[in-house]
């Protein structure tokens, strides 16, 4: 079984981004960038499947600027077998072109299972996995927090609207994984050094996807209004006084 893990380079989750003063977008220059946390979990899961003999090969693919190589090398150091960099040229690195390119790669590389992150923590969109599943006409599961191979298919636990759900899916399939699926390993120095020297295959997004226009564009960004400063109360008596004054807690309006 060949597992493909699409990985995105995003602003580190501990860093607060700033909106450019002219509202034209988000200023990410000089900010710490990392592998999207959900994708790190997906890579870990894929490598575990290979180490358990359930997968034969793990390929990671990242679309973006040349610096995306950083996160591909992180994934290689974690144990991925091969890495592909998709170069978007002047175009966008996500949206329909990415999904189309991934679907071409899946077919070309004989992929049986795609493990995406359930969302990228920059756009918080979570559309890549379901859209890829749609183009391939494969079954999908989102927010996967437990996974097992069973009788040639998958048994997964997902967050549902009411609570945990258990689904059985045949392979091939596309999954969007949650942070809870597993804990990513720490990377050893020798593995990092080895990954630094590994070859990364570079492909042009446009060549794989043709001309796929984005279906929306961001026209401006703003910082949400900050909440007005609150009060610090001294002790429980004062806290109770404040709370008793709230209509929602029974104060008569």
């Amino acid at each position: 079984m060949h597992v493909l893990v699409p990985v995105k380079r995003v602003v580190d989750y501990n860093v607060r981004v700033r909106v450019r003063s002219d509202g034209s977008g988000v200023d990410t220059t000089g900010l710490k960038m990392s592998l999207n946390p959900f994708d790190e979990v997906a890579v870990e899961q894929a490598v575990r499947l290979r180490q358990a003999g359930q997968a034969s090969r793990v390929t990671v693919v990242g679309c973006g600027a040349p610096l995306t190589q950083d996160v591909l090398r992180t994934a290689l150091a974690m144990g991925a077998d091969a890495a592909i960099l998709l170069e978007p040229g002047a175009g966008e690195c996500d949206g329909p072109a990415l999904v189309e390119a991934l679907s071409v790669l899946v077919q070309r590389e004989g992929v049986d299972l795609v493990l995406c992150g359930k969302q990228a923590i920059d756009d918080d969109l979570g559309d890549t996995a379901p859209m890829l599943a749609a183009l391939l006409d494969w079954p999908q599961a989102m927010s996967v927090n437990q996974l097992a191979l069973e009788d040639g298919g998958l048994r997964v636990h997902c967050d549902g609207d009411q609570g945990l759900e258990q689904w059985r899916l045949p392979l091939p399939a596309v999954l969007g994984v949650d942070l809870r699926l597993c804990d990513p390993r720490a990377i050893s120095l020798p593995n990092m050094m080895k990954a630094k020297k590994a070859t990364i295959t570079t492909l042009s997004l446009a060549e794989l996807a043709g001309d796929r226009a984005a279906r929306f564009r961001i026209t401006g960004c703003a910082t949400p209004p900050a909440r007005a400063a609150g009060v610090r109360v001294e002790g429980l008596t004062q806290l109770l006084e404040h709370l008793r004054a709230l209509p929602a807690l029974g104060a008569s309006a």
Binding site: I121, A134, F216, G230, L246
Partner: protein, 316 residues
């Protein structure tokens, strides 16, 4: 053309959030159709037909809608979209799987977690765990959106019933099989709709201590929430995680006990009326958003609030 809204209901009654979705849909200015998917839910469709502003109700009444897969719902959406420009649905797990799947087939734009509608082509949605609000313009013929119901004013009023059209449901995609589903066996209000939410973080220290949190929630007729760290530590179930990757809540009062206030957590409580924080660390970031903050021990505060605040009925 038309805006189609997926109605929220429990099989016998419309959920109040349907009115928020309808309010949002009416802002676009096109005729609004309500889609009622369910099993034995003709009464829901009748109630939907009487909501002012709805020009048609589409009723798909079929056992498969009891526990649909995202794949099947996507097929139904693809079948319906030729007649509509825009589809609106609540931002929840099923829709977050089905709408993008359908959008890819339709070559439609998909936007998730929309918080404001400026026109049929201009929307506002959060990025970066809510620390940025982006104005987005769609560039496709059709748009599929999930939105946060609590962010939109409810539609009001009733009308003489509009037509209810019964649909033939699409054949189910049976490849994915639901094996089991946990049900929230609690008689507490739903987290995303509760007027009071009492939430706990890693600071509660142990699963047993959640009883203190639950006691206050029940006393106030509220729901229980948790931070990711509390869920990961096994203190609380996944389903009640609040934040960027959990539920979004919009209560009148949100209590955060032993929650540090990471940006990923705050992303889920932006719409809360009053945020009350109890944390023993005076520098905890939660205090920068709290309306009322107490530097103190949650183990003292929880019983004191349960004893000192007036109880509410559970149906609040």
């Amino acid at each position: 053309m038309t805006t189609l809204v997926i109605a929220e209901h429990d099989g016998s009654q419309l959920d109040p959030s349907t009115l928020n979705l309808l309010g949002a849909a009416l802002q676009i200015g096109d005729p609004v159709h309500l889609l009622v998917l369910g099993m034995g839910c003709a009464a829901v469709a009748q109630a939907a037909a009487c909501l002012a502003g709805v020009s048609q109700v589409l009723l798909a009444d079929d056992p498969q809608w009891g526990t649909p897969s995202a794949e099947t719902l996507a097929l139904q959406i693809v079948a319906l979209m030729p007649g509509c420009d825009t589809l609106l649905a609540a931002h929840r797990v099923l829709h977050r799987g089905a709408l993008p799947r359908a959008a890819a087939r339709l070559r439609a734009a998909y936007l998730s977690d929309v918080v404001a509608i400026e026109s049929g082509h201009r929307f506002v949605r959060p990025l970066y765990a809510g620390s940025v609000l982006a104005s987005v313009e769609t560039q496709a013929d059709k748009t599929l959106l999930t939105l946060r119901p609590a962010g939109f004013a409810t539609a009001a009023g009733t009308q003489a019933a509009c037509p209810v059209v019964t649909l033939v449901s699409v054949g189910a995609d049976v490849r994915s099989q639901l094996k089991s589903r946990e049900s929230m066996d609690s008689d507490r209000p739903d987290l995303s709709r509760a007027r009071v939410v009492v939430a706990a973080g890693r600071g509660v220290g142990a699963r047993e201590h959640m009883a203190l949190v639950e006691r206050l929630a029940d006393h106030l007729g509220g729901a229980v929430g948790a931070s990711r760290a509390a869920v990961d530590a096994g203190f609380a179930p996944n389903a009640i995680q609040v934040g960027q990757t959990g539920k979004t809540v919009a209560p009148d009062v949100y209590f955060a006990f032993g929650i540090s206030g990471a940006i990923q957590h705050l992303a889920g409580i932006k719409d809360a009326g009053v945020i009350v924080a109890v944390n023993k660390d005076p520098d905890a970031p939660i205090f920068s958003v709290a309306d009322v903050g107490l530097v103190g021990d949650l183990f003292e505060a929880l019983p004191a609030l349960t004893a000192g605040l007036t109880g509410q009925s559970k149906t609040a």
